[in-house]
Structures are given as C-alpha cells and as structure tokens.
Symmetry: none
DNA sequence: GCTACAAATGCAACAAGGTTGCGTTTACTG
DNA sequence: CAGTAAACGCAACCTTGTTGCATTTGTAGC
C-alpha cells in the first residue's frame, strides 16, 4: 500500500472545475463528486438527499439549484427532463459519448440501447430557428421484452 | 342538402367521449374540441387561455387538470413532457399523423413545431428488437424566442 | 500574507405547475 | 322522475424552480 498521500489532493472534480474557469468552492466540488459517483442522472431532490447523508452541513436548496446550473453553464454537467417533468443532472463526461449516436428506448422496460448508427443530418429549419441538439430516438420493444411477451 | 339536422348533433367529440365509456360533460367536449382544433400539443396554461376566449364561463383550473387526465386515461388524449418540464396534451387521433415527421422543440418556450421534412429511414436494429415509433427531434430556440433574446 | 473585488452563498419570498379533500351539482340508469 | 356514481368548483396544499438582497468566500494582485 503506502500509496495514499497525506492529503486528498488528487481530486478530479477540483481540477475539472478549475479548468472550466470558475471558482472552486466546496459546494461545487461536493455536487460534481456526487454527479460523478452517480450511475444515473439525479434530480435536485435526490442530489439533496445524497448530500445530506454526508458529514458536512446541508446545503441551501437555492444554492444547490445555482450550483447545478453553473455546472451546466460551464459544460461540466448536463440537464434533461424526465418523464415526470423534473430536471435531472448528470456529469458531462458520462454522456459526451451519447451525443452522437442513435438510441433505442424500450417502451416496456424503459431501457436505453445505443445503436451503432450515426444520426442523420438535420433538415433545413425555418428562418430564425436555431438548432442546439439533435435526438433520433427509436421506440419499441427490446429483444428481451419481446421474447418475454411471447410467453 | 337537407342533411343537417336541426340540432348540432354531429359532434365528433361527443361521440368519441361516449364511445370511450365515460360521461359526456360540457367540459370534456370543450376540451376535446380544443385539442382537435390545435395543431400542436397544448400545455394546461395554453388550453386555459383558449377556453377563456370562448363565450362560456371559464372552467376551474383543477377541473381542467382532471378533464385532461381523464381524456388521457380513456385513450382520447396523449400526455407528454416538453423541454421545460411542462405537460402537454394532444388529441389521440392527431398523434398518428405526427408519427411520421420531424419535430422541433424549443428549449425556451417549450413549443413544438412540425417540420415539413420526413424522418430518415431507421437504421438496422439488432435481432429481436421491434420498432413501434420513430422520433427525430431537433432541440433549440424557435424564431420567436430567438428574436426576443436578441433584444 | 494582506487587500479588494467579483463571484458564490444563505435566506426569505415568490411563482408556476400540479395534486388532494370535500361538499355540491350533473349525467346517466332504471 | 328518483337514485347514484361520476364530475365539478373551491380552497388549500405540495413540489419544483426562480428572484432579490445582504453576507461570506475564493482568487488575483500586491
């Protein structure tokens, strides 16, 4: 062993935040750490619960909203809406790889499958419209649910 | 001619609601009519405004929520979440014609715009996967919100 | 290390969207 | 036409998210 340094210096989140050109605050580090530790996008409420579990004092509700938005603004996190209409946040690195391909979403199990195909080029937009993002989603039944249905 | 009966009996919405096996109330008919007349999915707020324009007395906020949910429950309407996290409703029949073209979703106002373009052909699916629906969504800022931003 | 300033935080209040409970009215059944 | 379950209106409440302002804190420059 003898590998762990005296202080936890090698904090990935700190470096990322600094590199993004914004202030490195305890709140931002905690939140970004939590986003990186999560395997699914987290809602504000879920994030609040996770932060409460730690030893540090609870963070203000509004501050958490602002931290999440600031992480999105500087490209370290992504914001999306879930089926209930609630915003969910995820670490940006986790999804960069999802930006440029097609997804299959199973309407039975909710699973998301990445297809190898590239998304098609966007059609021409009416005057004044600005494109930010492109989602080509196929919905249907995945192989597992299909065979289970057949029973 | 001589086809039109004395009373406005040929109300499509009334027949649909009756056929769905739920009570035919004035509220439900008004809402379903509005959904059929709309070319885009409507939010609760937009629906409220449209109903206010008519001559009939305004409908209670909660009642509108319940009517919309009841129409969804009996299959006459569809409920989806827009990019701002607000629920939008559309007539169930209308959705079939939306199945086969491209949508632009404004991340500012949540509006949904139908583009003239046809969706691209689906890529090949892995064995066992069954395709039901195909959604090619573009996200960005619509013309209205773009110009408003520029001010 | 100290200072100054902008950025970040905490708090209170607010706003929009949506839900629940309950008493009253209304559409359908017999 | 009476009885009943469903639908309605109202009030209150909840969750999610935002705004304004005073205070604290991170960081650049000395």
């Amino acid at each position: 062993m003898a590998r762990a340094p005296a202080a936890p210096v090698a904090d990935v989140s700190v470096d990322l935040i600094r590199a993004a050109g914004v202030k490195v605050t305890r709140g931002r580090v905690r939140v970004l750490d939590a986003l990186h530790a999560a395997r699914q996008p987290l809602s504000h409420a879920e994030m609040e619960m996770r932060l409460d579990e730690g030893s540090e004092p609870a963070m203000d509700r509004v501050t958490l909203y602002r931290i999440l938005d600031s992480l999105v603004a500087c490209g370290l996190a992504l914001k999306a809406v879930d089926t209930r209409g609630v915003f969910r946040f995820s670490a940006a690195g986790a999804q960069r790889q999802h930006a440029n391909h097609v997804h299959f979403r199973c309407t039975d199990c909710g699973g998301v499958f990445c297809l190898k195909a590239e998304p098609p080029p966007p059609p021409r937009l009416p005057r004044g419209f600005r494109l930010n993002e492109l989602a080509f989603d196929l919905r249907g039944t995945c192989a597992g649910c299909s065979s289970r249905e057949a029973v």
